[in-house]
């Protein structure tokens, strides 16, 4: 226990996570997967919808995790990428009449390019300065979407209504359940992609930059390229999440994508554990359910209750769900030795 505690508490700002610690063991992964597949069969449609949102926000938190936990760049602008993804999907579906599944890769691509380009000026900034720049992006986005100039496409302040897809091939399941499984498949695919990305040469370059930029460049890593690439990948995944979100909620409007969303995603990352990809889903659960719980405890003081819960979480586990997982792993290891 003490050994784990020490290695965990003495970490720098964005901790260096060993490659292996970024993922779950095979056994745990399979149990999680089985749970995610089986759960919707036993619950009501509204809960299925919430689980879909859980996966979608999980994806968005994962994207931020790649950027911050992987390459060490901080972003408060994820809501902007999410919005671009959502609008790309919604516009393609409603104005062009494209199939919903086909709009997602396009949303991802558009956001990748957008993120990659945004990463260029962001290259010169780090820490709080980068936070301010991304923050500016997040505050500007809802205003840009409201502009009269784009109103024909975006629907202005009113936004766009998106039709919910039916299950294909005449499958006898509800729309919500179909969308859930559809989202689950995409989430798993992106999760596997992300794990492998961080294990690859590019992923190691990200981490080298995170740990020491100057040393990384001295070893021949193209710092500018990889930093912007991290922004692009993160934005791309967030864009896919945004597209899925638009389909799930059946509605896009500028005020759904304010800075509050970006802050929520950030909290999700911290609660899940910075740099630990499986934690993204835990963080996503936190940002979806805890505000509701707080509202349930006290209507007038819901903000205060939320704050207190958040404080409790960061006191008990300053490194988020990752810390819990490490302690658990340690305990299991001890049991096995006996």
């Amino acid at each position: 226990m003490s050994a784990v505690q020490e290695t965990v508490t003495d970490a720098p700002a964005v901790e260096a996570v060993p490659k292996r610690a970024m993922t779950l063991g095979t056994g745990t992964s399979l149990v999680m997967l089985a749970l995610l597949i089986a759960a919707p069969l036993f619950v009501k449609n509204f809960i299925i919808f919430q689980m879909t949102m859980l996966l979608i926000y999980g994806l968005a938190v994962l994207a931020l995790n790649i950027l911050t936990g992987g390459s060490g760049q901080f972003s408060l602008g994820q809501s902007a990428f999410y919005a671009v993804g959502a609008y790309t999907s919604a516009i393609l579906m409603e104005h062009v009449g494209m199939n919903y599944a086909l709009t997602l890769p396009i949303a991802g691509l558009v956001c990748f390019v957008f993120g990659f380009l945004f990463g260029q000026p962001a290259l010169r900034l780090s820490g709080v300065y980068l936070a301010l720049a991304t923050f500016a992006l997040a505050t500007a986005m809802p205003q840009l979407l409201k502009l009269g100039y784009f109103e024909h496409w975006t629907g202005g302040v009113q936004g766009l209504v998106v039709t919910k897809p039916d299950a294909p091939f005449g499958l006898p399941i509800s729309q919500d359940m179909w969308l859930y499984y559809f989202t689950l498949v995409i989430t798993i695919a992106i999760y596997i992609f992300s794990v492998n990305l961080l294990k690859s040469r590019s992923g190691r370059a990200f981490m080298a930059i995170r740990d020491n930029e100057i040393a990384a460049s001295a070893m021949g890593i193209n710092v500018a390229l990889y930093k912007t690439l991290a922004f692009g990948v993160s934005a791309g995944i967030t864009g896919v999440a945004g597209g899925l979100g638009a389909i799930a909620v059946q509605f896009v409007a500028p005020d759904g994508y304010t800075i509050t969303l970006a802050i929520s995603l950030f909290l999700g990352m911290v609660v899940g554990g910075v740099g630990w990809l499986p934690g993204s889903i835990v963080g996503s659960a936190f940002i979806i359910f805890v505000p509701n719980i707080a509202e349930g405890i006290s209507k007038g003081l819901s903000g205060a209750v939320f704050g207190v819960i958040l404080f409790l979480v960061i006191y008990l586990v300053p490194h988020g769900a990752r810390q819990v997982a490490l302690v658990a792993q340690h305990l299991v290891g001890k049991l096995k030795q006996r």
């Binding site: 508490t9 003495d10 970490a11 720098p12 700002a13 964005v14 901790e15 911050t68 901080f74 000026p121 010169r124 900034l125 780090s126 709080v128 300065y129 936070a131 301010l132 720049a133 923050f135 500016a136 505050t139 500007a140 205003q143 840009l144 409201k146 020491n212 930029e213 100057i214 040393a215 001295a218 802050i263 950030f266 909290l267 990352m269 911290v270 609660v271 910075v274 007038g300 003081l301 819901s302 903000g303 205060a304 209750v305 939320f306 704050g307 207190v308 958040l310 404080f311 960061i314 006191y315 300053p318 490194h319 988020g320």
Partner: protein, 292 residues
């Protein structure tokens, strides 16, 4: 030309608000090395305390001094109780803590004083200043207070034992500990001072934007922008940054066609980011030398 000077003057008047807030932001940045997102809410809470004191019949300057003392104590208390245990946690966890503090203070203030908008008195009066329609005596007074505060801080950090110890503790904690400075208490002191300066900012701003729990949201964003623009390491830069942001915002609103109130903020922020891209440490900040 007259339009330009008028807009610049109006910009300076709003800039004074941002400068006040930016000064508080820089103070805490000096002491704890990160930005405190709950700064605005702390200032709002202090302002409500002073409002309550005024309601109870305490004279203005009495309430002013009492609020300063209470805020100072409150800032130290928050640091001791909530953030000292997080001293070893990662920075991002601390940032999450600031957001939690923000939510708590905002919600508690809403419960105690509710969300209706309240009038707040000004000690300087609100007649036109020197015959100008654009700057009232209150705004001139606010600029004066900001400048006095800046001079006071300059002397405190340059010439007093305590001020020097705080700077040492913030820049090289290890060496500061070796020469016998209690760095942990210096951080608490920094929180206290930031809270006190925040309360001054709040009491100066409240007559302009009116008192309510969400009054600081916009101001804090501009305050951050101003602090970052001026350079987070320089109180002087923060004040200049505040005035610049105020002027920027007004000129953008006047001269760029099609910019309503809604686009003022994004454009002002975009300009600031542009400045930062050219000068990453802010206008007056010390460039940080990186070592391997």
């Amino acid at each position: 030309m007259e339009l330009l000077t008028n807009q610049v003057l109006a910009g300076i008047a709003t800039g004074a608000i941002y400068a006040c807030m930016a000064l508080a932001v820089v103070m805490i940045y000096q002491a704890i090395d990160h930005l405190n997102f709950a700064q605005g809410e702390m200032a709002m809470f202090s302002t409500f305390i002073s409002w309550q004191l005024l309601q109870w019949g305490v004279p203005y300057w009495g309430a002013f001094v009492l609020t300063l003392a209470l805020s100072f104590a409150g800032g130290i208390l928050i640091e001791r109780l909530l953030f000292k245990p997080l001293a070893k946690a990662p920075i991002l966890t601390n940032v999450a803590g600031f957001i939690a503090l923000y939510a708590i203070i905002n919600s508690v203030a809403g419960l105690i004083w509710d969300f209706t908008i309240k009038q707040y008195p000004t000690p300087f009066g609100s007649s036109p200043f020197l015959g100008s329609q654009l700057i009232s005596t209150h705004q001139a007074g606010m600029i004066g207070v900001t400048i006095l505060l800046l001079i006071g801080l300059f002397f405190f950090f340059r010439f007093t034992r305590m001020g020097l110890a705080m700077r040492a503790a913030a820049s090289v904690p290890e060496s500061a500990r070796l020469v016998g400075i209690n760095t942990s208490w210096m951080i608490a002191l920094g929180w206290g001072m930031a809270a006190a300066i925040g309360s001054i900012a709040g009491m100066m701003i409240a007559p302009v934007v009116f008192l309510e729990p969400n009054m600081m949201l916009g101001v804090l964003i501009y305050g951050f922008a101003a602090a970052v623009l001026g350079g987070l390491t320089s109180p002087f830069g923060a004040v200049v940054g505040g005035f610049l942001v105020g002027i920027f915002e007004n000129l953008v609103g006047t001269y760029i066609p099609g910019v309503g109130n809604e686009l003022k903020l994004p454009i002002a922020l975009a300009l600031i980011v542009t400045v930062l891209v050219v000068k990453p440490a802010g206008l007056f900040g010390r460039p940080i030398v990186k070592r391997v």
